[in-house]
């Protein structure tokens, strides 16, 4: 099946945060008690109960008359080469047939590796001694087993609720074509740094951003990568471990068989 994607157009977003609410509503996530920090941005961070949040940034300055208020969506980017899937030891994180990185909480053991290896720092897990049986949590593009909107013919909850059309769901390649046209429009319209964020990052993300300025202004990392430690661990250290245990195990078996045969035959003489 052709890959699907979510396209976020930052130039259309009014930061109403309807997506945040719809996400909580569909995924049965409770609201969080927070305190006023002098910003509309709330809650302060992603959490096991908040899989999507809008970030608010003030850039430029009033003196230069270039003050701007930028909004960014912060949630799983659904990488095609996802570090979380690579390090997940139980198969709880997996690529679903549409290219999204889904999460089956029933299989999650709560190790938290996904939290520590994600280049976008998206997954969250409860920490603390009192937290005994914990689960990782993150956006699954509404493909969580048992709560799968896509499988039932709907679009993700955040897309469904977006009033301005800043969020779109559809075929990844079609969205990319449309997004590139929009980027060209923006460039012609006095935004030379306009760009499409995510198309070729970490294997190609399944959440794409139309930005009218450099990604770093939006607080987005410019060069996300699967950490070298994840590759070294999974592709080098672990196979070496299997090999070491196998070779040593076989060697010991051989040793004991030979030693037994020789020592017992000596005793018989």
């Amino acid at each position: 099946m052709a890959d699907k994607a979510i396209l976020y157009d930052a130039t259309k977003c009014t930061a109403c945060r309807g997506c945040q609410v719809a996400c909580k509503s569909w995924n049965e996530l409770p609201a969080e008690t927070t305190t006023n920090r002098g910003t509309y941005e709330n809650p302060p961070d992603l959490s096991p109960d908040t899989w999507l949040k809008m970030e608010f940034r003030e850039v430029g300055s009033i003196a230069n008359e270039d003050m701007r208020w930028l909004f960014t969506r912060r949630a799983c980017m659904h990488c095609a080469d996802a570090a979380c899937v690579k390090v997940c030891p139980t198969g709880a994180l997996y690529y679903n047939s549409l290219g999204f990185v889904s999460l089956d909480k029933g299989k999650c053991t709560g190790c938290g590796y996904c939290v520590e290896f994600c280049p976008f720092e998206i997954p969250r897990i409860d920490t603390g001694i009192g937290q005994v049986l914990v689960r990782a949590a993150k956006c699954t593009a509404c493909t969580t087993p048992g709560l799968d909107r896509i499988d039932n013919g709907y679009e993700p909850a955040c897309v469904k609720t977006c009033p301005t059309g800043a969020l779109k769901y559809g075929d990844r390649y079609e969205l990319i074509t449309a997004a590139k046209a929009k980027v060209e429009e923006l460039k012609a319209d006095g935004h030379p740094d306009a760009n499409l964020y995510g198309e070729n990052l970490v294997g190609g993300t399944h959440v794409l951003y139309i930005l009218d300025d450099k990604p770093e202004l939006y607080g987005l990392i410019t060069d996300p990568k699967v950490p070298a430690t994840a590759t070294a661990w999974q592709d080098v250290i672990k196979p070496l471990g299997y090999a070491a245990a196998g070779v040593v195990g076989l060697g010991l078996l051989l040793n004991i068989m030979v030693a037994r045969a020789r020592i017992i035959s000596k005793e018989e003489k």
């Binding site: 030891p89 139980t90 198969g91 709880a92 029933g106 299989k107 999650c108 053991t109 709560g110 190790c111 938290g112 590796y113 939290v115 520590e116 290896f117 720092e121 897990i125 920490t127 001694i129 005994v132 049986l133 914990v134 689960r135 950490p227 430690t229 994840a230 070294a232 661990w233 250290i237 672990k238 070496l240 471990g241 070491a244 245990a245 040593v248 195990g249 010991l252 078996l253 040793n255 004991i256 030979v258 030693a259 037994r260 045969a261 020789r262 020592i263 017992i264 000596k266």
Partner: protein, 211 residues
């Protein structure tokens, strides 16, 4: 036949206590290491068992050290004392363990070179396990991703090194025909004079002289 005391009761208790904790830790860790047994880790119960066993793994040796500081330090000193004679063991070991002539093995001390090697592996991997495990348990979210990743990798490397050497330890101590009284020493604390003379000649001479 006359017996010699190899291990005290409390040392034997500590040994088997650590065996129990290590097996629990190793098995629950293996769930995350081998994909085909990973369903055993679903729901996270193994994570809880791993942590309880970790407390036991650290706790009893700490209590043992507080109650027996002198013998613990002696044991550590033994593990870290290496000299030219150990080279003799290394040269003789391949033939010896494959059933070659017993006389070719130079006389060994209370612990032979192989046993000391295992003691070193236990000490070093335990230190790595405990430090990295402690950080992963209590500092998740409060240290940078890169530092945490290093802890995960070191924990895994210690598992591979310690686990592989554990296979050697189990095979030699429990199944090797030449180590015929190893299991008896670690259960009853005693070994026959004959066994001690042939396997730990240097040590036997010393304790015989002390008597």
């Amino acid at each position: 036949m006359q017996d010699v005391e190899r291990f005290r009761k409390r040392a034997i208790f500590q040994h088997w206590w650590i065996v129990a904790c290590s097996l629990l830790l190793g098995l629950t860790g293996l769930f995350l290491f081998l994909s085909w047994v990973s369903p055993a880790a679903w729901w996270g119960w193994s994570r809880l068992v791993h942590r309880i066993a970790a407390v036991g793994f650290v706790g009893i040796p700490v209590i043992y050290f507080i109650l027996n500081p002198k013998s613990t330090l002696e044991w550590l000193k033994e593990a870290f004392t290496w000299n030219k004679e150990d080279l003799g063991w290394l040269q003789a070991a391949p033939s010896y363990y494959f059933g070659g002539p017993e006389e070719d093995m130079p006389p060994q001390d209370r612990s032979n070179t192989g046993q000391k090697l295992w003691m070193l592996v236990v000490v070093i991997t335990s230190v790595v396990f405990v430090i990295t495990g402690f950080i992963m348990w209590f500092f998740q979210g409060s240290i940078p991703q890169g530092a945490y990743q290093a802890m995960v990798l070191l924990h895994d490397i210690a598992f591979i090194a310690g686990g592989t050497m554990l296979l050697v330890h189990i095979a030699l101590a429990a199944f090797h025909p030449r180590m015929s009284e190893a299991m008896r020493s670690m259960t009853t604390g005693k070994a026959t004079v004959d066994y001690v003379k042939t396997h730990h000649g240097k040590w036997y001479e010393r304790i015989a002289a002390e008597k």
